[in-house]
């Protein structure tokens, strides 16, 4: 086996895994505080990419596009929390999940109405030349994406550690009942979390949009995030990162080394097989909280 080729595949896999982590983090933020698996995260991602691209195509400068899209994502996130989820508080998880499924179609429909259905190219101004680092070829774009993801995670950590709202978030995530009986302002925390999820969707949307082109199938990247969440645990940001890296690496390595035995094309489904196998061994994921219930 050629070691430098192996390293190249591995690094490529890890970097594409970062892209999965980006999507998964959006899920984790909301799941941790409200126990909702937000299926609309993919549509949010699509909506942000589409809005940004359409604004740019109408001649707005890059930063204006970012700011307007960010404002829109913040508003949408806050709106979903207020209008859809808050009235459904205390409903079973499946109800909440179905609600977010409905929301995802509303958002996609709204995106279609606003911006039309054609595919857009999104150029973030990073040329995707392979970069040679000590004999291993690495995609510049992937490196950039990893850098952005790292910065975003750092900002989230600062937010959770050093703001009052962040402390409230950690409190709610640790014990929702205690937070409720203390009278913490769950509404403010909920709004903040959905806002944060909207921002994460923006970052992920731009990077994925630049990678795949901005089109409606972009919302299907949520399906890529599911095995990551199963692996890393639904309620751990660290889990989302590690899970994403593992899934990315597994996909690429499996495609290259096992793929030929199946006639190739296993990259599309091997992640789910890995997740399924993992579920049997560790249902709570690598970093997820184990549910122990006293009976």
């Amino acid at each position: 086996m050629d070691l430098s080729f192996f390293t190249e595949v591995l690094v490529g896999g890890l970097l594409s895994g970062v892209m999965y982590s980006l999507v998964a983090i959006g899920f984790v933020l909301i799941y941790k505080t409200s126990g909702v698996l937000n299926f609309a995260q993919g549509s949010l991602l699509l909506f942000s990419a589409l809005t940004f691209v359409s604004l740019i195509e109408r001649g707005l400068p890059f930063w204006a596009g970012i700011l307007i899209t960010l404002a829109a994502m913040t508003a949408i996130g806050a709106l979903i929390e207020r209008v859809v989820l808050r009235p459904l508080v205390n409903q079973p998880p499946i109800t909440l999940f179905m609600a977010t499924l409905g929301v995802s179609y509303v958002i996609e429909g709204a995106a279609q109405l606003l911006w039309g259905t054609q595919v857009h190219g999104l150029d973030l101004g990073i040329d995707d030349r392979p970069l040679e680092i000590s004999g291993v070829f690495v995609s510049t774009f992937d490196l950039f994406a990893a850098g952005v993801a790292g910065a975003m995670v750092a900002v989230l950590i600062l937010f959770f550690r050093y703001t009052g709202i962040g402390l409230g978030f950690r409190a709610v995530a640790d014990d929702p009942l205690a937070a409720l009986s203390l009278g913490l302002r769950l509404d403010r925390i909920g709004t903040a979390v959905w806002t944060a999820a909207g921002m994460v969707a923006l970052v992920a949307g731009l990077l994925w949009g630049a990678r795949l082109g901005v089109q409606f199938s972009l919302s299907l990247v949520v399906l890529k995030a599911l095995p990551v969440l199963v692996l890393g645990g639904f309620d751990s940001i660290a889990g989302a990162i590690v899970g994403g890296l593992i899934i990315g690496a597994v996909e690429k390595l499996a495609e290259v080394y096992i793929g030929p035995f199946f006639g190739g094309g296993i990259e599309g489904w091997i992640a789910y097989v890995a997740a399924l196998g993992f579920l049997l061994v560790r249902p709570a994921g690598l970093f997820g909280q184990k549910l122990v219930e006293r009976v």
Partner: protein, 274 residues
């Protein structure tokens, strides 16, 4: 003079007044027609057998239960149902019978949560780290550190609460309740499950809280020794009714209270004729 008038007369001065309060769960009357007034700076114990309605009373005052009848006066304002999210603004803090701590958070964070209500800076000001938000946060940190010091918790400030002993956890919860300088502090069985030494220590803390914060304290307690030594006045509940309210000495001599605690000696009375 009716009880309502008594309450009306003292509502301005009282730290807490409860006016003909009733609460039922299904067909069970948890509280029926309770009138109670607590003066500022008072330590008031609420005692009674299990199921007498003590915790229900505190839960109504802290807004967790909505009473069927009656009103609660806090700081000169009356409520049919106390708004939980405005408790801190009303200067009310409480502890819980079964600790409501965040076990995965550090001692310092648990105490700092008690100050979360006071933040005036908006979400974005906090995230952006604007000067106002930063000052607020620094002040909160300082205040939390001072309270940790007061409760001898400084050595443990970075420990996760879940790893601490029960007695220390109770102290952390008390610290969280006190950190926002409440005017009214509600303690639901603060001594439960504590050793004698811990009880003595906690008694000292409760007195010190009253003296330093000029806070009014309402506590539910089963340890009669602690209650008699610590409280200025004692209220006694039995089957949801207030059967006694007075100084510890008066309560000790109250026949209804003795009956409720020891059981009425029906058999002896019946046997007297023999």
């Amino acid at each position: 003079m009716s009880a309502t008038l008594v309450v009306a007369a003292v509502e301005d001065r009282a730290a807490l007044a409860i006016e003909s309060l009733s609460l039922s769960f299904g067909g069970v009357m948890a509280l029926s027609g309770i009138d109670l007034t607590v003066a500022p700076g008072e330590i008031r114990a609420v005692i009674g057998p299990n199921g007498a309605g003590k915790s229900s009373l505190i839960n109504v005052v802290s807004g967790l239960y909505r009473p069927d009848h009656g009103r609660v006066w806090l700081g000169g304002r009356s409520f049919a149902a106390v708004p939980t999210d405005r408790l801190a603004a009303l200067g009310v803090a409480r502890t819980f019978q079964n600790l409501a701590l965040f076990k995965g958070l550090s001692v310092l964070d648990n105490v700092a949560v008690g100050l979360n209500h006071g933040f005036r800076a908006g979400v974005f000001a906090q995230i952006a780290g604007l000067p106002g938000a930063r000052r607020e946060r620094a002040a909160a940190q300082e205040r939390a550190a001072a309270v940790l010091d007061f409760f001898h918790l400084t050595d443990m400030r970075d420990r996760l609460v879940g790893t601490l002993s029960y007695g220390v956890q109770k102290r952390v919860e008390l610290a969280r309740a006190v950190v926002a300088r409440p005017r009214l502090l509600l303690l639901d069985e603060p001594m439960a499950g504590m050793t004698l030494t811990e009880k003595r220590e906690l008694t000292g803390f409760i007195r010190a809280i009253r003296d330093e914060l000029q806070a009014t304290i309402v506590l539910i307690e089963h340890d009669i020794g602690v209650v008699m030594g610590l409280s200025d006045r004692v209220a006694v509940l039995d089957y949801g009714r207030l059967i006694g309210d007075g100084t510890p000495e008066a309560i000790r001599a109250n026949q209804a209270v003795i009956d409720a605690y020891l059981g009425v000696a029906h058999d002896l009375e019946a046997g007297e004729g023999i």
